[in-house]
Subunit: 448 residues, 2 copies
């Protein structure tokens, strides 16, 4: 079975930890069984691998997340980037076309699942049973049915039928996407399950279905990417699941832990009274504190709160009010102050705009060994790089020279420059000019 | 009448706003009647001047506060610095010796008062009556008697007698410094007042008394400073007030507002639901928020809390627990991350130590026009200065040149350097070396 992991959304709900360049699934807030920090997506990939249910994981995501995925999962997964964000149906068609193009057979099964569900091992056992049901021909597509805890209007509801021949997998009597609360309540009384957003099907079967749903569209990765912006912006549930005859569906119930850790309130259910970073806490209860800044954070007598400090901002909130955060953080409209990139990471440590409009922005950057920053020039800003650790090589207007701790490089407006790290290379960059935006960059090809 | 303002203590109790270089009396947390920000010491000096009770204010303080006083009060007061901190009696003797040395007559009255009392106008009217009582010969020394609100063991207690001939000023029947709570309670029942720490006396009378209390010590500023470390570390209350015959004392009762704004709890009584800096607050009650950092601070649903963010750290505390802060902040033992200096100000924006012990420290500094940094060299660190605003002049190993926005100056270990600002001059400094301490500095004379 192949696995497609859907890695979506920018997630303002976990501000200031998440930002446009750093979605919630990449935050290293969880712990491995060995006690090391891991992100939601790292956890899911580790769990899939431990369960031994997949021989290949493909992550479908937006361009802005590609660097984070490669940094966190490099080697464990491959990545396909969506040219723009257009909901889950086009993303799954694109990812499946890539599997087909790379030689996955039409008979091979594919599991599609979200990358940010917090679940236990039996979740993956359910997926394995779903796989078996599809391979055995008990259904065209198998769904995961999560035992509901309340009549939410946010989920799809699956009414299971009799066992379909595979142990722990049932037929489907009815599927209703996001019903009203009253309908949800009566469906739960009848024994309905939440649609857990996990789907297993054969690749060939789905590609045929996609061809019927997207008439006239060539289903190769290249062709799909080219006209991606014209594909319907529709979820897989509405486009596919709801439209299929229930006779072609099966459902594997799952009763274990199942959470979307997408808001501070749900996330901190997992993480109460946990303190990360330079934190001194006394007399706190039910409180989660994370400090990614270097300066000390002292917290006294907080009850049921979340306190988070990062280069993007500081949050102090009653856990129950954290739902308001999406609206507030959405209005802040600030450049990301911390980013993980393919080549390493940076944080903005100072930013000042003078009355005449001139700006200065100071960053601390670290390149990973062997990684490089592309050959580039800026038209509106000068940069001064002070190397404070490591060794590497720089190219300035075609001239190559080594750089190391102690060196200072002045890059005037218009000068072409590239940098490569031999060892972890840390430097302070002072940008100055009238308009300091990431977009002021012209890139040129270069072979080191 | 001359006024001596006592400006003491480093004040860890208001961490992270206060630090070793920035005491509570310099924090601009209050508002003038016109709505502008002012510090406690600025408020007292403004009130003294508005009351018209003084023809000269001398601030007695430690060396570390001299720059802050000159920045905040420049021109309004003069300053005498104590070579070391040795409680209030030696400080008052030193300040009075300076008044005498500069020509204040023996008959002139002197008012001594703390610089961080939060009081209303009638406080200064009481001081004026104290002055009158001493001038009229009703007493050798007049005290301020604050009407007590509870039997505290922290204060001195003054039992007033009959009016002494000056309206609103009474004789003193008894003075007890810091009694037990039970004694305090019974004294309050008898009508005792708290000693408000304000004293008025004639300069000559006090210098004679000081000569008797410090036999063999020459009472000139120079001689006192020279042997300052050997003077008794004793408060004015114990050394003088308690020892005087009560017949030589008078007391002016004061019933107005009277607070020591020295802890977050007392300070925020004045400042509830007040938000300073880049703050978004919703559903907060009884909460004071101050953000001196550039990054946004979002606070949702905080009740009776103090939230403060500065380059020194982040505090989130229940108001009632802020008393614990002195112990905690005292244990942090971190260099000040923000300082106001004679020449301007700086903040530390990044600090990193590498595994091999090498350190890098990045600051943003601003020099005020006409101000300069002394001619100096460092033996353990190199500095890179990137000028991001303003114009000035630099001297490097004797060579003078102009600097301005856009210039980058590399100062290797051992190079002599000085800097002067023509306009407000802002630059980013990257220090690097094995040992980055403010003490690694050798200063040389220079005339610009």
């Amino acid at each position: 079975m192949k696995t497609i992991l859907l890695s979506g959304g920018s997630g303002k709900r976990l501000w200031p930890l998440s930002n446009d360049a750093r979605s919630k699934q990449f935050l290293k807030l969880l712990r491995t069984p060995q006690g090391e920090k891991e992100s939601m997506i790292q956890r899911v990939v580790r769990q899939i691998s431990a369960a031994g249910i997949s021989d290949g994981i493909l992550v479908a995501t937006g361009v802005s997340q590609k660097d984070s995925i490669e940094n966190q999962l490099g080697g464990l997964t491959s990545v396909i980037t969506e040219p723009s964000r257009r909901s889950t149906f086009p993303a799954i068609v694109l990812a499946c076309s890539r599997l087909a193009a790379e030689g996955t057979g039409a008979d091979e099964t594919v599991a599609v699942m979200p990358c940010d569900t917090f679940a236990d091992e039996s979740y993956f056992e359910s997926i394995s049973r779903m796989d078996m049901a599809v391979r055995d021909g008990a259904a065209e597509m198998a769904l995961m049915g999560v035992v509901p805890t309340y009549p939410s209007a946010k989920y799809g509801y699956i009414l299971p039928g009799a066992e379909c021949g595979v142990e722990g997998v049932c037929g489907v009597r009815r599927f209703v996407e996001k019903p009203e609360v009253d309908v949800a309540r009566s469906m739960i009384e009848e024994g309905a399950l939440w649609n857990g957003g996990v789907f297993v099907f054969r690749l060939g079967w789905f590609m045929d279905l996609a061809a019927r749903l997207l008439p006239g569209v060539t289903l190769t990765p290249e062709a799909l990417r080219e006209r991606y912006a014209t594909l319907p912006k529709i979820s897989f549930d509405y486009a596919v699941v709801e439209k299929l005859p229930v006779g072609s569906l099966a459902v594997a119930p799952y009763e274990g832990e199942w959470k979307d850790l997408g808001t501070w309130n749900t996330l901190t259910d997992e993480l109460r009274d946990d303190f990360h970073g330079n934190v001194i806490a006394e007399n706190c209860e039910g409180t989660y504190i994370i400090n990614e800044l270097e300066l000390p954070l002292v917290c006294l007598g907080a009850k049921d709160m979340v306190v988070a400090a990062t280069p993007d901002g500081i949050l102090v909130t009653d856990r129950r009010l954290s739902e308001n955060l999406k609206r507030i953080a959405g209005g802040l409209d600030r450049r990301p102050m911390y980013e993980e990139r393919r080549w390493g990471e940076y944080k903005v440590i100072d930013s000042v705009e003078f009355p005449d409009g001139f700006c200065a922005l100071t960053k601390q950057l670290t390149l990973r060994p062997g990684c490089s920053i592309s050959y580039q020039r800026h038209n509106c800003r000068a940069e001064i790089w002070t190397f404070i650790d490591g060794e590497g090589e720089i190219i300035l207007d075609g001239e190559r020279r080594p750089v190391r701790r102690g060196d200072v490089i002045h890059i005037p407006v218009g000068m072409m420059h590239a940098l490569r790290a031999r060892t972890p290379l840390t430097f302070i960059e002072v940008q100055q000019g009238a308009n300091l935006v990431e977009e002021d960059i012209e890139r040129f090809p270069l072979t080191w």
